[in-house]
């Protein structure tokens, strides 16, 4: 086996400028897409629970459509397909003086759409898990549906939603590597070009793997902190250590109800 250790360590500890930019893009796209997907997902979840039938139908159709097709196909349709059909053509644009490439915009839109379909189901399951007595208690106090949702139902549902939502975010960070297909120069694409120039494919992708691992590990630790906070807010002192979240523990199985199918794509 020939493994160029010095090349590997160089890329691991002193990564090039483009590589760092790729890493930053991976993180930023992940965070923005997750934030957007949470908002859209909540909206879809509320539509699915609505008393108004057309809203329920539209939401169900959205979830069926998005979950039934691969992220890759969705991205190509959004970025290339819609432009080719003269529907929407993403243009490079600036927000606050920062250039945002057309492909990055399309990537964020695509990830939001894809992830929101999964997230809406997580949110819906979370909302459904709050006992009906809580809705009734809020109603008998004269709270409106919206107010009850904001103050009574969502805060309780959140505690149950965070573990699966965290898993979704974990999957989302990894699935950004798929964006290379539409030319977003995130970490994976940058690594690919380094590999093409140096022929050191194993070395460079080993370094890339470690970077992804670092990202998901940091997130797992943050997630465990959030879970501890939320549990403390309802007076449950469940000890979810980062160690358990990373390597599993006796409670691991109950704390990880669903994994995001897009995580499995990559």
């Amino acid at each position: 086996m020939s493994f160029d250790w010095s090349f590997f360590f160089k890329n691991l500890f002193t990564p090039s400028g483009p590589f760092l930019q790729g890493l930053a893009l991976t993180v930023i796209v992940s965070i923005v897409a997750m934030a957007g997907a949470l908002v859209v997902g909540l909206l879809i979840a509320l539509m699915r629970r609505s008393e108004i039938t057309p809203l329920r139908v539209v939401a169900s159709f959205y979830i069926w459509l998005i979950r039934g097709t691969p992220l890759l196909v969705q991205l190509v349709i959004i970025y290339t397909g819609l432009a080719a059909a003269n529907v929407v053509r993403f243009q490079d644009g600036e927000i606050g003086g920062i250039l945002i490439k057309a492909a990055v915009q399309a990537a964020i839109v695509g990830l939001i759409i894809n992830e929101s379909a999964y997230i809406s189901e997580i949110i819906r399951a979370g909302l459904d898990s709050v006992p009906v007595g809580q809705h009734e208690a809020a109603a008998t106090l004269g709270m409106s549906g919206l107010s009850a949702m904001r103050w009574i139902i969502l805060p309780q549902a959140l505690r149950l939603m965070v573990p699966p939502l965290g898993n979704s975010f974990n999957g989302l960070m990894k699935s950004t590597s798929i964006l290379s297909i539409i030319g977003v120069s995130e970490m994976f694409l940058v690594a690919q070009s380094i590999s093409a120039a140096s022929f050191k494919t194993f070395e460079i992708f080993a370094a890339v793997a470690l970077y992804y691992l670092a990202l998901t590990t940091i997130w797992t630790i943050i997630q465990a902190m959030i879970e501890r906070r939320l549990n403390a807010a309802v007076g449950i002192d469940a000890k979810v250590s980062s160690w358990q979240r990373l390597f599993g523990g006796r409670r691991g199985a109950t704390l990880q109800p669903t994994s995001s199918p897009i995580g499995d794509l990559v």
């Binding site: 006992p131 809580q134 109603a139 106090l141 004269g142 009574i152 309780q156 309802v234 007076g235």
Partner: protein
């Protein structure tokens, strides 16, 4: 009692749930300041009757006036019965307190927050007023020292007393209790009944579903016996327990006394 207009007026009301006629022509008046106790065998429709009084269930026949207005429905100009718009129903519920068998406290809030939450969020009472009032209510139910405890750190009896304080915080005209002591360990029943006894002494209008016949005998102005969706007998407790008129009342009382 006949002079003051009734707070609750039910006339021949019917309510169908899941295809079953759960209330089948119930008539009942509750006067201001009166304590009415509902008793009857399981499945008689006691909970359902209570729930119709604040619109958790909607009646499908007869009349149900609460504070003079139809509850959970409205009658349009052609005389047809329509659902009450949610906004109006929400507003009307602010005047009616409801205490559940299983407390239904908000687990993510302290006892004190549970009590001041609705006045602040619903009535827009400033916190500077609502919080001291909530503290006073907790003191009234004997839980001043538990203000900062979360529900899961309280006993059942304590939770139910917080739930009563929470309902009282909205300054309701009418308090509805659905078996408030049935989920409690026997040694905690007394502390909750004591709070309810004091409320009655303060002339709160109350409709109480309970199996506590001692409470009914002592506190109720009238006892309503229900069976199979109907009211079978209404009488002051002394008369009812001494001399039940209806065979089904006799059967029911012989089982529980």
């Amino acid at each position: 009692m006949t002079a003051a207009p009734a707070i609750v007026t039910a006339r021949d009301l019917t309510c169908t749930l899941g295809g079953r006629r759960v209330l089948d022509g119930v008539s009942l008046d509750v006067a201001p300041g009166e304590v009415v106790v509902l008793v009857g065998p399981s499945g008689a429709g006691k909970t359902t009757l209570l729930r119709t009084m604040n619109g958790l269930e909607t009646i499908d026949g007869g009349d149900l006036l609460v504070a003079g207005e139809p509850m959970g429905y409205r009658v349009d100009s052609t005389g047809a019965r329509r659902d009450l718009p949610r906004r109006i129903l929400t507003k009307r519920r602010q005047e009616i307190g409801f205490v559940f068998q299983h407390f239904n406290l908000f687990p993510h809030m302290t006892a004190l927050e549970n009590v001041w939450h609705a006045p602040v969020r619903v009535r827009k009472t400033p916190r500077s007023i609502a919080i001291p009032q909530a503290e006073a209510l907790l003191a009234r139910v004997g839980l001043a020292d538990k203000a900062d405890s979360r529900p899961n750190k309280l006993s059942g009896g304590q939770q139910q007393r917080v739930a009563i304080a929470r309902a009282l915080a909205m300054k309701p005209q009418l308090m509805l209790f659905d078996e408030p002591t049935s989920a409690l360990d026997p040694e905690m029943v007394g502390e909750v009944l004591d709070v309810m006894r004091e409320l009655a002494a303060d002339h709160m209008t109350m409709v109480v579903v309970t199996h506590e016949m001692g409470f009914a005998r002592e506190v109720a102005d009238r006892v309503v016996v229900m069976d199979a969706g109907k009211v079978v007998e209404i009488a002051p407790p002394a008369a009812l327990f001494a001399n039940p008129q209806h065979v089904r009342t006799q059967a029911f009382l012989s089982k529980i006394l």
